[in-house]
């Protein structure tokens, strides 16, 4: 049933040894946090606090009427100092709430939601409502509102909840640490998901470069008959949703379809933890674990960070950057966002903060015409022909790019990673996607 892998993919060095054995640390509170009102897929929130207002930890500060959205909550107790546009990790300016962090004693003041300790008997809609109010989104990076994923239509029954513990991006170890340190929460969170969608089993997929996590989780889940742990091959992008489903239960999600079409629901380890904390403690999503690593960081670490914390504060905690730092990446090195500086703040989808040195940081300003070496074709987990797609996009042949599956590309970057001609595949394909979607709207 489980073949533990998928077709395609690449084997980058995992660079995880710097932080994989380091326990999660707490970080001192910064002086100020900035919480963007749009940090998920879906409608942006509108602020529901005013400048000058006192807010307490866990209090909702932004919400939206839309179904596909998630509220944002304050991660600290303090005072709202501004509601303004500031630089987001994407490089664009986004509206957000700046909060001056109150004293250490103030932080004891919390404004959590009403927990549902008896979740095993609770009304399902009540649980969904709690998940929504807690502002939980997918913490693997895409930040899709979890409450939406937990509300599948009646004609798409879900039988399997898959917990994504692959962490296939190099350098990142936050999910690895959560599996080891927050074991019970991860299991309970996954059981809540299972109950809400009416699934019959939970599968926790973990790449086999984390044998300690596999052993630990296997032991911990022994007393839960519906929960199993599956060891998966270490290969990027093993943690991509469709590839993970293929590897764990050997089902192929239809082209441009959702996992529920094959009865599966995939959630990240961190999301399971957030769900467990929200349901059992009433704690909204106000913090997350982030790996700070890379050869440009003096003291790599895994940190539990209040959302909205400025990146500079994280780097300071990690001992600062050394002279070798040449590229700052928010997220993993394969799909993360390069940062011009450290002014952006941590959002729900932030899984890592990396400082790469010159030797590691790839630049694709100078590149060669495609030499048809086939490496990208072998690497593409979506079975595309990235060579044809990128060449069409390079020459602005948008119809050809559309036919070559521009919209099926998941932008995992495997093609670009292994391209001997150093072609900026992801840039080309993103251009094509934007053009094809613009044409479809027209």
């Amino acid at each position: 049933m489980s073949n533990g892998t998928f077709t395609g993919g690449i084997h980058p060095p995992d660079y995880k040894e710097a932080t994989s054995q380091l326990a999660i640390e707490d970080i001192a509170l910064p002086d100020e946090i900035f919480i963007p009102l749009s940090q998920h897929i879906g409608a942006p929130c509108t602020a529901c606090v005013e400048v000058g207002a006192d807010v307490s930890k866990g209090q909702k500060i932004g919400d939206s009427e839309s179904f596909v959205s998630a509220p944002v909550c304050s991660s600290v107790t303090g005072r709202v100092t501004a509601i303004e546009k500031r630089k987001h990790f994407t490089g664009q300016e986004v509206l957000g709430v700046a909060i001056k962090v109150g004293s250490q004693e103030d932080q004891a003041k919390t404004n959590y939601l009403k927990a549902i300790p008896a979740w095993e008997e609770a009304d399902l809609d009540e649980l969904r409502k709690l998940v929504r109010e807690a502002g939980i989104v997918g913490l693997g990076g895409a930040a899709f509102p979890t409450s939406v994923k937990l509300s599948p239509p009646a004609d798409a029954p879900i039988d399997t909840v898959i917990i994504n513990g692959c962490e296939c991006e190099p350098f990142l170890t936050c999910d690895h640490r959560l599996l080891l340190e927050k074991t019970e929460d991860v299991i309970v969170g996954s059981l809540i998901m299972k109950r809400v969608v009416g699934a019959s089993r939970v599968i926790i997929g973990i790449e086999d470069n984390k044998p300690d996590a596999i052993a630990h989780m296997t032991k911990a889940t022994a007393s839960y008959p519906d929960v199993t742990v599956t060891a998966l091959h270490t290969k990027y992008p093993q943690g991509a949703e469709k590839q993970l489903i293929k590897a764990t239960i050997d089902r192929e999600v239809p082209m441009r379809g959702l996992p529920m079409k094959v009865g599966a629901l995939v959630h990240n380890v961190g999301t399971a933890l957030a769900l467990s904390e929200a349901v059992r403690l009433g704690k909204p999503l106000i913090e997350r674990v982030i790996t700070v690593s890379g050869p440009g960081v003096k003291r790599p670490c895994n940190l539990r960070v209040p959302l909205g914390t400025p990146l500079n504060h994280l780097i300071a905690h990690a001992g600062g950057l050394n002279a070798a730092a040449a590229r700052i990446v928010l997220g993993g090195p394969m799909t993360g966002w390069a940062q011009a500086d450290l002014s952006a703040s941590v959002v729900k989808g932030t899984s890592g903060l990396l400082a790469l040195d010159k030797a590691l940081a790839a630049t694709r300003d100078e590149y060669h015409d495609c030499v048809r070496c086939q490496r990208c074709v072998r690497a593409c987990p979506m079975y595309l022909y990235p060579n044809f797609l990128a060449t069409a996009a390079e020459h602005k042949q948008w119809s050809a790019a559309d036919k070559d599956g521009a919209l099926d590309c998941v932008e995992c970057g495997a093609c670009a990673f292994d391209c001997p001609a150093n072609r900026p595949m992801v840039r080309f394909i993103r251009d094509a996607k934007a053009a094809v979607m613009a044409r479809q709207r027209a």
């Binding site: 999600v253 239809p254 950057l321 500086d341 990396l354 060669h368 015409d369 030499v371 970057g413």
Partner: protein, 337 residues
């Protein structure tokens, strides 16, 4: 402490495997070192001279052809050196230097640069040059007349001279009147038979091919299907397949020319079709046309079909089959209702 430095912003991925075109070309040259050494061992300075002429002609032609197009020479990506070296290895040690130069100019000037340069050329440059001097025989004859007396040759050991001046193994197997009088083991290991420099050792070529496979620059599909098709067909025709596998330019062509990235199919099934058809053509040429540069012609003919083969053998996108199935099921359900 606040970090005030500014960093460059680029699109992901932020790391790369470190594979480069020059590295791959260097690997190909390294893979050809064993057979080159065997050839030099037997043919001495004749081999060195021929290889040197081809490499030099390749570099100069590249520079001139690209100058005409207003571009810088591309020698730094090393691909012209691969073309020059493979071309030299196709020629017999008795080849005139002007024929080698002519072939290289055709290969690099027309086969590669004139067709758009590395990545855009439709035909394998080395095969193009090798076949070109045969097709353009009148030009070669003219050159022979012009340069008569300018030939350069160096001494070889007497037994090598003997075997070079006789029939090549390919002529023996491809002519009805002759039979191969060289043991297969000798062809496999080391044999100065007077054919192309690369015909001195099939094993050395196989070693090089294994290295390219290990470095993942080539896949098994093309060499295995070419050699497999030749073995099967010749067996059916009542020949000894080893006669064919170990003679002529087959091994060099199957491992180093047909596997050329730019001019071979990009799909795995396409590579098998491409390889099998090359194998079929080689056998047809050898059996019905006698000893010619059948391998080069077979590769060139199939090069022309690569876009078509690619189009016909493309795989579906992840989940495409399931999407089609679901759509069909929905259609049936709607009809039933």
């Amino acid at each position: 402490m606040r970090e005030e430095r500014k960093f460059s912003v680029t699109e992901p991925p932020h790391i790369s495997s470190g594979e480069t075109v020059p590295r791959a070309m260097l690997d190909t040259i390294l893979a050809l070192v064993p057979v080159t050494l065997v050839a030099i061992y037997f043919y001495r300075l004749n081999a060195v001279f021929l290889i040197g002429v081809c490499l030099l002609a390749a570099v100069v032609t590249d520079a001139v052809a690209r100058k005409i197009k207003g571009r810088k020479p591309s020698v730094s990506d090393l691909s012209v050196l691969v073309t020059g070296l493979i071309l030299a290895l196709c020629f017999s040690p008795l080849t005139n230097w002007w024929t080698a130069v002519f072939a290289t100019v055709l290969a690099v000037g027309i086969g590669k640069e004139w067709m758009g340069g590395l990545g855009w050329n439709r035909f394998n440059p080395a095969a193009f040059g090798r076949a070109g001097v045969i097709v353009l025989a009148p030009v070669t004859v003219f050159l022979n007349r012009q340069f008569a007396g300018w030939n350069v040759s160096f001494p070889m050991s007497p037994d090598v001279v003997d075997s070079v001046s006789g029939a090549t193994p390919l002529t023996m197997i491809a002519s009805p009147q002759m039979t191969l009088d060289v043991p297969h083991l000798q062809l496999l290991l080391a044999n100065p038979g007077g054919g192309g420099l690369a015909e001195t050792s099939a094993l050395a070529l196989l070693l090089g091919g294994a290295y390219l496979l290990y470095r993942q620059h080539i896949t098994w599909h093309i060499p295995v299907s070419i050699l497999g098709a030749v073995a099967v067909l010749t067996t059916i025709l009542g020949h000894n397949p080893a006669d064919h596998l170990l003679t002529g330019g087959l091994m060099l062509g199957a491992l180093f020319m047909a596997t050329d990235w730019v001019t071979s199919p990009i799909t795995d099934p396409g590579r098998i079709i491409f390889g099998v058809l090359i194998g079929v053509l080689v056998v047809v040429f050898r059996v019905f046309l006698g000893p010619t540069e059948g391998v080069a012609f077979a590769i060139l003919i199939m090069n022309a079909f690569v876009p078509l083969i690619d189009r016909l053998t493309r795989r579906g996108v992840f989940g495409q089959l399931n999407a089609a199935k679901a759509a069909a099921a929905k259609a049936t359900a709607t009809k039933a209702a």
